[in-house]
């Protein structure tokens, strides 16, 4: 494999003193809630009640692609969350609560991956790569490297990826679930929604907790990281295909349209962009509440966000 130009700088762990006391009641509460809310993709979803037999071939193929893509997005957590967990452990004096929480979050992400893959399979077969190879670089973002990179402050990473991104994923899943009539798709999305809600709450809780002690310079770095994430990742179409400007997204948008109309848990590309726009607006307000000013961001085709 090619080697990048930079060697990633990793922190050196100082294990002791090892504080395992509860430091944040709210985040510890999320961890306790997550343990109680455990579920089993094998037994808690109505796989036998699938109502896909009447689907035409075109819709079935579109569903395969949409749910496969969902699995690719969710798979990011298979490397990002362990990286973030390690990073929390490497940082000096970080609370135990987020560490515990992230271990449960990662299990939930694994369940989601398995569900999305299995749903794509029952729609006709999971697809392991994008039809248009241009999408590959949108997914291959090395997020786990950023999470571990000592030169990237962990608080900027959490703000962008745990608060904003997890909040966006929650809102998108809400939109898809509202359009899900097929019993298995609806059940998958409902289970994911409960998990996503905790993931987003964690991000915002921790961002708020850390913002209380942030310097003005660190607040600016958080705002810059958010802006960069939106410009480089979201505007590349990572979550919402219609935001992409360098890839022909008409086939992806057509798939979303068909899957939405069939009640298989999706939304039209334009609806996803509307949710994204709302999410940026609300996130900007939430960040402003704790002193982080997210600037207006210009999309090359869709105007300002």
């Amino acid at each position: 494999m090619p080697v990048t130009s930079q060697t990633t700088s990793l922190q050196t762990e100082r294990r002791f003193p090892l504080d395992l006391h509860k430091a944040d009641d709210d985040i510890r509460g999320l961890y306790e809630d997550a343990k109680k809310a455990r579920w089993d993709p094998e037994t808690d979803l109505p796989w036998k009640q699938q109502a896909l037999a009447a689907l035409d071939e075109k819709t079935r193929s579109a569903a395969r692609r949409v749910w496969s893509r969902r699995a690719w997005v969710e798979f990011t957590g298979m490397t990002e969350t362990p990286a973030l967990l390690i990073r929390f452990c490497l940082e000096l004096n970080r609370e135990s609560d987020p560490k515990y929480f992230l271990t449960v979050r990662n299990t939930e992400e694994a369940w989601h991956v398995e569900c999305f893959h299995r749903y794509a399979e029952i729609c006709g077969g999971y697809i392991d790569s994008p039809a248009n190879p241009a999408w590959e670089r949108v997914f291959n973002r090395n997020l786990y490297r950023d999470a571990l990179n000592a030169e990237v402050p962990i608080d900027t990473y959490v703000a962008a990826h745990c608060a904003f991104v997890d909040g966006l994923e929650l809102e998108l899943a809400r939109l898809w679930a509202a359009n899900a009539n097929e019993p298995v798709a609806r059940a998958i999305l409902e289970h994911c929604l409960s998990d996503y809600a905790r993931h987003a709450r964690f991000g915002w809780m921790y961002a708020r907790r850390r913002a209380a002690t942030m310097s003005a310079e660190m607040r600016e770095r958080v705002a810059a990281a958010l802006k960069r994430h939106i410009e480089e990742v979201e505007f590349a179409g990572y979550h919402c295909v219609a935001l992409a400007t360098t890839i022909d997204t008409r086939p992806d948008a057509a798939d979303l349209e068909l899957v939405t109309q069939a009640g298989l848990g999706a939304a039209a590309a334009a609806q996803e962009v509307a949710v994204f726009r709302d999410c940026v607006t609300r996130s900007r307000q939430q960040f402003a509440d704790f002193g982080v000013a997210l600037p207006t961001i210009q999309h090359p085709q869709l105007g300002s966000f």
Binding site: L20, K36, K99, E114
Partner: protein, 311 residues
Amino acid sequence: MGASAVATATILDTPEARFPLRLGIENKRIRDLFRNATRQQWNPATDIDWSALHPEQYDDVHLRAARMYWSRRAWGEYGAISESPALQIRFCHERCVPDMALFFSIRSQEESRHAEVCYRMAEALGGYFEEPAATAYQGSVATHGIRKMALDPDISLEGTIAALVCAAEEIAFDVFLHLIDITVNPVARQVAKMILRDEVRHCAFGWAYLEQRMPQLTAQEREGVRQAVISLIEKVELNGYHSSWLAPENPASNAEVEIDRLTWEAGLGATTEELEKPVFLKSIATMRERMRDAWGLEIPLFTHRKFSAPF
């Protein structure tokens, strides 16, 4: 940040290439472990009958020792939270069979449950300790070096799994079985049982992975696996990572041995050198035999000042 940083070559330096992204079942035994783990989740807050602990039945000396013992167990489990997730990154980076990353996601959660339950035990006995009483003992319990190994592109994944799982975790498993046999206090015993229930799967993962991989390795790679196992036994296990009586002789490790003795005496969960020695020896012998039979690897005899003959 606050912590010091080093820049060394790791797998992080090569660009991500996740496609084609395989997600189907490629190692059924490991996928089944993932699904069994999903079914068998438990919660330290609610699934342990903490009311049966009765710390008031113990004197201060024994309580203090047991607090230190369970704190030390928590540090060990925490090591798995802090380091083993690096293996999951490695699995994805090397595009190993997808079952492995899925299983490890729940394995890390189990490690956090173990850290939590050991911490809760120490708290219930009077209070968790954040560090060893003497800094000299930190070297024995601070790290098993798995993070570094997992991220190092020059260290084989097979060797790391053979050493960490098929050697170290097998020993830990046998010691847990022994603890369940000798621990009198019902809560300490229940905690050990719950941890053991998860450890069964952790061990099975390693053998399931290597059963698939070993036949595909070259002679040189197989020798690398053998050396990794030897190195972990000599440098980590025989340095006291799991058993304090194996740590280098000094006042700090002697104090830890005494902590174990007092905790065992109270029936609160530890064991002693005399009782654990045969368990440890049998565990090493079983591991050696299994690696020979399953993989054709010859693990040599080891020596340690605590044993009169090579074992």
